[in-house]
């Protein structure tokens, strides 16, 4: 009997708690609704989804009346949604294609406008004991491309200490990743990867694996470096001096494997969307870009 009673009161209490919680949640959203809430729909690149979410969260304290809804799916998905007019801002870690601009014009009568909100530099990682410091784009392509000519470190004149088999272990990303596509386009020139690479599911996993494998080479975002890996300098052509992936070299576009992170809108942004984009380009918004592991645009670039 006593137990039953106890259970009953417990149940009642938890019901009450749940309903209170639910009410509180509803109440909060109703409040912002009452204050004339505006929702900005934001969709696109998976590379940018983390930084876009961080922007949306921080912006809530800047302007509580604006609610930014962020979702991923890929750059193409975001731009397609923009063309349909389903969203306000599309995130894209590539440039919009000419036919996409044309399609948007036909569909909505407005021109898509791109705003660069930051940069992503893809760094080439090797194990920290690997003596190599510099690699050319051509060598990099020959390592990763299908039927490439470089399979052993000795072909690059490199001897890795304490390693008998110096076969290069290639660390790549799963084929749906934006970084994979970017690397394929920029480094391999659209050719296919050689099979047999270890295809990791995340940027961090690539760096972690390379950090534990002396003969490995992998590519991942610049922000993921750890003490166990080394980032290589990259020469556009053999013989040229290599360029290290830094904020500086990304901004002045001397680092070859970098891309801009773009926001696309239809027509000149107005009202809340305009304010939001202005805030993203401000110091506060750019700080979030840096925290998320990407390269912020400099003030100079903004006026360009």
């Amino acid at each position: 009997m006593e137990l039953k009673e106890l259970l009953r009161t417990g149940l009642a209490a938890s019901c009450l708690a749940i309903s209170l919680l639910l009410n509180a949640g509803c109440g909060a959203s109703e409040n912002t609704e009452a204050a004339g809430s505006i929702t900005i729909q934001n969709k696109g690149s998976d590379t940018m989804v983390n930084v876009a979410q961080a922007w949306a969260e921080a912006y809530r304290s800047v302007n509580p009346a604006v609610n930014v809804e962020v979702s991923g799916g890929g750059s193409g998905v975001g731009i397609a949604a923009l063309i349909r007019g389903a969203i306000d801002i599309a995130n894209a870690s590539r440039d919009i294609k000419a036919e996409e601009i044309e399609e948007a014009r036909q569909n909505t009568g407005r021109e898509p406008i791109g705003i660069t909100a930051g940069y992503d530099a893809v760094a080439i990682y090797v194990h920290h004991t690997n003596p190599i410091n510099e690699i050319s784009m051509h060598q990099l392509a020959e390592i990763f491309v299908e039927d490439g000519s470089i399979t052993h470190w000795s072909q690059l004149g490199v001897t890795i200490p304490n390693v008998r088999n110096d076969k290069i272990v290639r660390v790549s990303r799963q084929s749906s990743s934006g970084t994979y596509e970017f690397f394929r386009e920029r480094v391999l020139g659209g050719r296919d990867f050689e099979l047999g690479s270890l295809d990791m599911n995340g940027s961090k996993e690539v760096v972690e694996l390379v950090g534990n494998a002396p003969t490995a080479i992998g590519y991942s975002g610049m922000g993921y470096a750890t003490g166990k890996v080394k980032m290589l300098k990259i020469a556009e052509k053999p013989g040229e001096p290599g360029v290290a992936p830094t904020v500086q070299t990304t901004l002045n576009k001397t680092y070859p494997i970098a891309r801009s992170l773009n926001l696309y809108v239809l027509g000149a942004p107005e009202g809340a969307v305009n304010e939001y984009i202005d805030w993203i380009l401000s110091d506060a918004g750019q700080q979030i870009v840096e925290i998320s592991g990407y390269v912020p645009i400099s003030i100079k670039n903004q006026t360009d």
């Binding site: 008998r164 084929s175 749906s176 099979l195 270890l198 694996l209 534990n212 494998a213 490995a216």
Partner: protein, 344 residues
């Protein structure tokens, strides 16, 4: 009796009919159903009336149980139909060739210039890691089953069984995590392997996952061997080893085979752990320290990003059909083998 049955209670379930035709005494183990009750009263036998809600409730309960029994068949059929329906259109596509699918190792589902769907390397990966896992798991599992069934005392047996069940309850992502962090470091330290995530790592993880299944089913099979066999063996002066090797293992052969096959089924179907531990490289392995990719891990990694209805999506479903067929065959074999045991 029969005439009453057919004229008035046509809707009666077969079980009840069967029970009734066997006569009153044989229905002792079966709850009297509503129809039975009314029939009995109509025959003039005094029996307390059950309230109406109990009668209806029992009917509902019976229906629910019947549905849940049949639902398993419906679900399996529905899943197979769904997977096949999603995969089917690609078979008619011009760019897709079923021969290439089975014989090519080239898996380039998102290539810009030349899309190729060859799953031979993935099939090789799945089979090699499963076989190696069984090399570790079968001796360990059968040894465990023999120990629990023949050697250890009742107290230790209970403890072991609980611990082994716990082992079976560890989520596969946790196993994958162990493979990715702990195992891979050990492998790099003690072998020549350039990376720790490879076929060896994956197969050890799979073996650890399959062992609990092999132990518990194998132990059941050994326990099913009548004690008279053991007594006869001992009476003939057989040592414990002779008894196990010459008498118990042959007697429990089918059950032990079924245990192994179910372990194989587990290993073939496992996804998360192999995705994390095998290195996920499209590669036909030349040694046990090579990284591989399995059919399951490939689906898990790529299906989420393949546009619905695209060729890539359909080919992934086709590999699903392939997997379904493999596990179905393994399980069917295990089932037939177990049936073989029962018939004895």
């Amino acid at each position: 009796m029969k005439s009453v049955d057919t004229s008035r209670y046509r809707s009666k379930t077969k079980q009840t009919e069967a029970a009734l035709s066997r006569g009153e005494t044989s229905t002792a183990g079966i709850h009297p159903s509503a129809t039975e009750r009314s029939r009995r009263t109509s025959l003039g036998r005094v029996r307390p009336q059950r309230p109406r809600w109990a009668v209806i409730g029992e009917h509902i309960l019976e229906t629910v149980i019947r549905i849940s029994g049949i639902s398993a068949i419906l679900f399996v059929l529905a899943i197979f139909l769904f997977v096949f329906r999603e995969a089917f259109p690609v078979l008619g596509s011009e760019e897709f060739s079923l021969v290439e699918f089975f014989t090519s190792i080239e898996w380039y589902p998102t290539s810009i210039k030349n899309v190729r769907y060859g799953v031979l390397a993935l099939i090789a990966g799945t089979f090699s890691v499963t076989v190696l896992a069984m090399v570790f798991a079968v001796p360990l599992g059968l040894g465990g089953a023999i120990f629990i069934s023949e050697f250890c005392g009742p107290k230790l047996r209970e403890t072991l069984k609980i611990v082994i069940e716990l082992l079976a309850a560890i989520p596969s992502v946790v196993w994958g995590f162990i493979g990715l962090t702990v195992m891979s470091r050990i492998i790099v330290q003690y072998t020549d392997a350039p990376v720790g995530v490879n076929m060896f790592n994956g197969s050890i993880i799979l073996a650890l996952m399959a062992v609990p299944i092999i132990v518990s089913i194998g132990e059941d099979a050994l326990k099913a061997v009548p004690d008279s066999y053991r007594e006869a063996g001992q009476a003939l002066g057989a040592t414990k080893w002779q008894l196990i090797y010459r008498v118990l293992l042959p007697a429990a052969r089918n059950g032990l085979l079924a245990a192994v096959l179910l372990g194989v089924g587990r290993a073939v179907g496992e996804t998360m752990a192999v995705l994390m531990a095998t290195g996920h490289a499209v590669n036909i392995p030349h040694g046990i320290l090579d990284s591989i990719r399995t059919l399951t891990a490939n689906i898990a990694a790529e299906l989420g990003e393949a546009p619905v209805g695209s060729e890539h999506y359909r080919v992934l479903f086709l590999t699903g059909v392939l997997l379904f067929t493999i596990t179905f065959l393994v399980n069917l074999t295990a089932d037939l083998v177990i049936r073989g045991v029962r018939r004895k």
